[in-house]
Amino acid sequence: MNAALAPPPSAPTPSETPTHYLNASYGFRSWLLTLDHKRIALLYLASITLFFFIGGFYAVLVRLELVTPAGDLMSAENYNTAFTLHGVVMIFFFLIPSIPAVLGNFLIPIMIGARDLAFPKLNLLSWYIYMVGGMVAAYALFTGGVDTGWTLYAPYSSTYSNSNVTATAIAAFITGFSSILTGLNFVVTIHKMRAPGLTWFRLPLFVWAHYATSVIQVLGTPVLAITLVLLILERSFGFGFFDPARGGDPVLFQHLFWFYSHPAVYIMILPSMGVISELVTCFSRKKVFGYGFIAMSSVAIAVLGFLVWGHHMFVSGQSVYAGMVFSILSFMVGIPSAIKVFNWTATMYKGSISYSTPMIYAFGFIGLFTIGGLTGLFLANLGLDIHLHDTYFVVAHFHYIMVGGAVMGYLGGIHYWWPKMTGRLYPEGWARFSALVLFVGFNLTFFPQFLLGYMGMPRRYHAYPEEFQVLNVMSSAGASILGVGYLIPMIYLFWSMRYGRLAPENPWGAKGLEWTTPSPPTTFNFDETPVVTEEAYEYVKEEKH
C-alpha cells in the first residue's frame, strides 16, 4: 500500500511490548481517576462519539420527515423536538468539545514538549463537568425533550414553550464550565510549559489555533452562562428580562445569545483549521507557506469574531446603522479566513504530495470550508440577508462550515494521530473510501439546501409546499449516504484498535515533537524534556541520499 507506513527498524515488535500510557495500569479506576491528559482525551473521545450518534439519530428523524411535503411521519411537536435536540447535542455536546477536548488534550502537551497540561486535576474535572452536563441533557431528552431550537429565543423559550427548557439550559450552562476550564488550562499550559527553545513562533499551528480558541472559550462562555441564568430566572421565577410587558426586551436575549454564539462558531472551526495546517504541511512534506499569517489570522478571527454578532439580527428590527456596522465587520472576518485557504493552497505548490487519508480529509475541508465561507458573505450582505435569513440557505451555510469544515478536520485529525493515540494503523483502503463517501454524501445533502433557501423555504418547517420536494428528497438521500460514511470509520477504527498493524513512531515522516515519542507515548510523554532548535515544519533532505 504505502511504503511510508512500513515500520522502520526501530519500531517495536509485538513480542516485546513496551509500557505506554494505555497499558501502564488497568481497571476502571485507572481510567476514571486518571490525571493523564491522554487518557482524559480518550474519555472525551468515547463520550463525544456517543453524543455524536445521539445527535445523528435526531438528524435522521428530521431528514426522514422532510422526504414528503406533508408533516406525516411524526407530530409537529416531535419534529420540533428532533431538530432542537439535534442542534443542542451536536453543538454543545459534540462539536464544541470535539477537537479541543480530544485532539487538543492529547496533543498540546506533547507538541510543546511537556509532561501534561498545567492543571491535570482541573482537566479531569472538566471531563466530569462535561459528563454531568451530558446527564442533565439526557434527562431533558428522556423527559420529553425541548422544542425551542438550539437558539432558545425568548419569549418563546422564556414564557411560551411547555418543554424542558430549564433542564436544557442547565445542561448547556454546566457543560459551558467544562469548556471554560479546558480553555484556561490550555492558555496557561501554552504560556508556561513550552519546552526550552520552543518560542511562540516555533509553535505548531495546531497550538496557535487552540490558543486562539481557548481565549474565546474563556472570554465568551461566561456570557452564555449569564444568558442562560437570565433565561432560567425568567422562566422559573417570573423575572421580566425579556418580557416587554414587564419592561424587558426579547431582542436583548438575541444580543446576549449571539455575543457568545457567534464566537462559538469559531470555537468550532479554529481548532479544525489548526488540524488542517498540520495535515497540509505533513502530506506536502513542506514548510507551511506564510506561517506568521496563518498564526495571526487565527488571532484576528478570534478578535473580530466578538464584533459581528449582530449579523444574526439584520431583520429583527435593529437600526439600519447597527446593521451596517455588523455587516462590514462580518465581511472583514472573511479576510483572515481567506488568508488561511490561500496559504494552505500555496503550501502544496512544489510540495511532495501524498494522498493518504488525512490529506484527503484536508482536501475535503478546504473545498467545503471555501464554499461555507463564501456563502457566509451572502449572509453578511444586508441586501441579500433579508431574503436569506432563517431559510435553508443559512442551514446549508453553517453545515458547510461546521460539518464540511469542522467535522472533516476532526476526522482528518483523528486519522492522522490515530497511530499515535492507539499505536495501531487503520486500514488505509477503507479509510480513503469512506472519506470519499462522506464527501459525496455531504454535498448531496447540503448543496440542495442552498437552492431551497434561495427559493424561500424557511428553516425549522415540519411541513412545506410541494414545489420544494425534489430538493428535499435529494438532501435526504444524501444524508443516508453521509450516515454510511460515518459508520464505516466507526467500524474500522474500532477494529484497528485490536487488529490494526502496529504503528511506528512516525508513520507519516512528519515533523513535530509528538512524532518523536513512541506510539503510543509513555505516560509522561518524554523521558527527558526535549530541546527545540528549529522552526516548525523544517523538512530537510537527509544527507545520506
Partner: protein, 316 residues
C-alpha cells in the same frame, strides 16, 4: 402544484430583481474563487504528487507580495459587496411616501391583517399590483417573521414593538406568505397566500369583502369604551393632553427631551404611560397593559392618527 424543479423563486416586486442581480454577482465571485482554489489544489495535487518515499521538496517560506495581494484584492471585492448590499438594504428599508398602509398581527399560529377601510383577513393578503404597500406589524405572543419570498422581503415581528416593512408588487399572481421565525408547535402552519390583483379586480375585492367599521371607527369605539375620552377630550385639555394632531408632531417631555410622536411612541404612551411623560402633565394615566389586544391597539392608534386628518378635512 407540482411545478417541476424550479431553482429560482418568482420575482414579483420592485426590489426582487435588484436582489437577484446582487445574488448573481456574489454567485459569480464565489464561482471564480472556488474554481481558482479548487483548480490550484487539483493541479498541485497531480503535478507534485509524491514520487519517491524519501523525496523532500525545497522549502518555501512565504511571500509578502502574495500575502498582501490576496488580502487586498478580496478586501476590495468585499467592500463592493458591502456597498451594493447596503444600497439594496436602504432601498428596502425606507417605504416610499403615500404607501397604502396595512396592519399585521402575528399570533400563534396565524397572521391577522387589517385594511384601514375595515376589511380583515386571516392568512390571506390582497393587494393591488403596482402600488406600494407598507405593513405595520405587531405580535400578540412570541416573535414571528413575515416573509414573502417572491417579493424578497422579510421582517421579524417582535413583542413590545412595531416593526414595519414595505413592498410594491409588480406581477399579478398568488404568492407564498411564510412565518420565518420559529414560533412553536405549528410554526410551519403559520403560512398564507398573498394575492396580487389588477387594480379593477382589487377594487372589486375591496367592495365585496365583508367590512364592518373602518379601523379608526373601531378605534374610536374602543377609545370610548376604555374611558380614554374622560381624560383626553378631543378638543379641550382635560386631565390628559389633547390628542388631536399629536401624531407626527414633536412632543416636549417632562424631562425636557423631545420625541417625535410615531406609532411606537403612541403605543408606549398607552401601555407604559410613565415611560415618557408629556411636559405639564402628571403621571396620572393608568397603564392599559394587558387590557387591549394588539389589534385593538392598532385601531386606537389609527383613530388617534385620524384625529389629525379630521382636523385637516375641517380646515379645508
Amino acid at each position: 402544484m407540482w411545478t417541476g424543479f424550479p431553482l429560482f423563486p418568482e420575482a414579483a416586486s420592485t426590489i426582487a430583481s435588484g436582489v437577484d442581480l446582487l445574488y448573481l454577482f456574489l454567485v459569480v465571485v464565489s464561482v471564480v474563487f472556488s474554481v481558482g482554489i479548487f483548480g490550484a489544489i487539483f493541479y498541485f495535487a497531480l503535478r507534485y504528487q509524491r514520487k519517491t518515499q524519501d523525496e523532500v521538496p525545497e522549502p518555501i517560506h512565504g511571500s509578502m507580495i502574495l500575502e498582501i495581494t490576496w488580502s487586498v484584492v478580496p478586501f476590495l471585492i468585499l467592500m463592493v459587496m458591502f456597498g451594493w448590499g447596503t444600497a439594496v438594504f436602504f432601498r428596502n428599508f425606507h417605504p416610499p411616501e403615500g404607501a397604502t398602509e396595512i396592519f399585521v398581527t402575528g399570533k400563534q399560529w396565524m397572521w391577522k391583517l387589517q385594511h384601514p377601510e375595515g376589511q380583515r383577513e386571516i392568512n390571506e393578503l390582497h393587494v393591488p399590483v403596482g402600488r406600494a404597500v407598507k405593513l405595520t406589524m405587531a405580535t400578540e405572543d412570541v416573535i414571528h417573521s413575515f416573509y414573502i419570498p417572491a417579493f424578497r422581503v422579510k421582517k421579524d415581528v417582535v413583542p413590545g414593538m412595531y416593526t414595519t416593512m414595505w413592498f410594491e408588487p409588480t406581477k399579478v399572481g398568488k404568492y407564498h406568505l411564510f412565518c420565518a421565525e420559529y414560533c412553536g408547535n405549528q410554526h410551519s402552519g403559520m403560512i398564507g397566500t398573498v394575492y396580487v390583483m389588477a387594480p379593477p379586480d382589487y377594487e372589486a375585492w375591496l367592495a365585496g369583502a365583508p367590512r364592518g367599521e373602518t379601523m379608526s371607527q373601531a378605534g374610536e369605539r374602543l377609545f370610548q369604551r376604555l374611558g380614554c375620552h374622560t381624560c383626553h377630550a378631543a378638543d379641550r385639555p382635560g386631565r390628559g393632553p389633547v390628542l388631536e394632531k399629536v401624531f407626527g408632531s414633536t412632543v416636549l417631555l417632562a424631562d425636557g427631551k423631545k420625541v417625535v410622536a410615531d406609532e411606537m411612541y403612541l403605543r408606549e404612551s398607552i401601555l407604559r404611560p410613565g415611560a415618557k411623560v408629556v411636559a405639564g402633565f402628571k403621571t396620572q394615566m393608568p397603564t392599559f397593559q394587558g387590557q387591549i389586544s394588539e389589534e385593538g391597539l392598532m385601531q386606537i392608534i389609527a383613530y388617534i392618527k385620524s384625529l389629525e386628518s379630521k382636523e385637516r378635512t375641517t380646515t379645508q
